[in-house]
């Protein structure tokens, strides 16, 4: 990654643990928005494009997406140890919180104020998902593949999954496949041009 040098990075493995704990504890109804904001915009460990690339990878892999993403990031900075530490950062403290809540579940759902607060927070969480998706648009690389095809892919995926509720598997297979071949072709053409 050539832009890696411009980015900042965590100094110690303990910092890595703390950052991921901080991110995950703020992640009500979706950790990805918080993670993007922290790592790309506040700490500048990654560019928008680098983050999007890792996020894409974590989506395709099985398992909890944000945990996979944390693992990849930890591995990138501190190798195997980093992967383990980042993953633990993502789950240890929230697990403590959720089990405490599990003990008092009845009281939580009964209180109307608390139920109202939860509803208010879920509204914000949905808005954050949208907002983050829009922010990530700027991370889509257009220098090689042009602007038209990626834009069409975004719109098509949104239409198929959001409106028609086509199962994600088929959308990834066909839209992802199409997008992959377009990128492949563009990269190949560029190499040919370079060789000449």
């Amino acid at each position: 990654m050539p832009s890696q040098d411009l980015n900042k990075k965590p100094h110690t493995i303990f910092e890595l643990f703390c950052v991921f704990s901080l991110i995950t504890l703020q992640g009500f109804g979706g950790v990805i928005s918080i993670m993007q904001r922290h790592l790309v915009e506040q700490r500048r460990w990654f560019s928008q494009a680098e983050f999007l690339e890792m996020f894409a990878m974590s989506q395709v892999l099985p398992g909890p997406n944000v945990c996979n993403l944390a693992l990849m990031i930890g591995d990138r900075f501190f190798g195997t140890r980093g992967a383990l530490v980042a993953l633990s950062g993502m789950i240890v403290l929230p697990m403590f919180v959720i089990l405490t809540l599990a003990g008092s579940y009845e009281q939580i759902t009964a209180g109307s104020h608390v139920a109202g607060a939860i509803k208010g927070m879920s509204v914000v969480a949905v808005g954050m998902t949208f907002g983050t998706a829009l922010r990530l648009l700027s991370g889509i690389q257009t220098n090689i593949v042009g602007r038209v095809i990626p834009t069409l892919v975004v719109l098509l995926v949104f239409y198929l999954v959001g409106f028609l509720r086509v199962p994600i598997f088929w959308v990834i297979l066909f839209c992802g496949g199409g997008s992959f071949f377009w990128a492949h072709r563009s990269l190949k053409n560029r190499r040919v041009v370079k060789e000449i």
Binding site: T24, M57, G116, A117, K119, V157, A183
Partner: protein, 174 residues
Amino acid sequence: MSASDWISILGQFAFLSFLAVGGVMSVAPDMHRVVVVELSILSNEQFLAAITLGKLSPGPNALFVAVLGYQIAGIVGAIAMTGAMIIPSAIFAFYVTRWRRDNSHRLSVQSFSIGAAPVVVGLLLSTGFVLIQNFPDVFTMICVLAVALVVWKSRLHLMSLMAIGAFLGAMGVV
């Protein structure tokens, strides 16, 4: 619960871990089948309570699995179930990530990176769009869009947005 039941549950959860493409929520129906229908160690209500807790508490939604384990066998159950759910897929993700890094010069790996980006953004947009339909009234939808606009265009702290949402919700405004 017998040892063979434990082996069965942990084994099935570890297997589901590999199928959970697109997040653990996508295999929640299968988990329900295992613990509620087949082994009937948890009630339907307990399962739903775990899902709800996963949504409302901070961190990965997948942690509802910890609540399932907790309901079955306390803290030990919580750790065992979370481990069964996360460790297999994490090991797989780790090796795929390494492979990809060592092969980043390959045309196919680069094409994947460039090609997947718009698909992922489209999927995230549709997640937001599908979730917005949980709020049938126009006022709430406008609130969601306002939050989206703020997150998109400003650098306002996300936690302060959350706090405002919680406050307005508790007051009964939203």
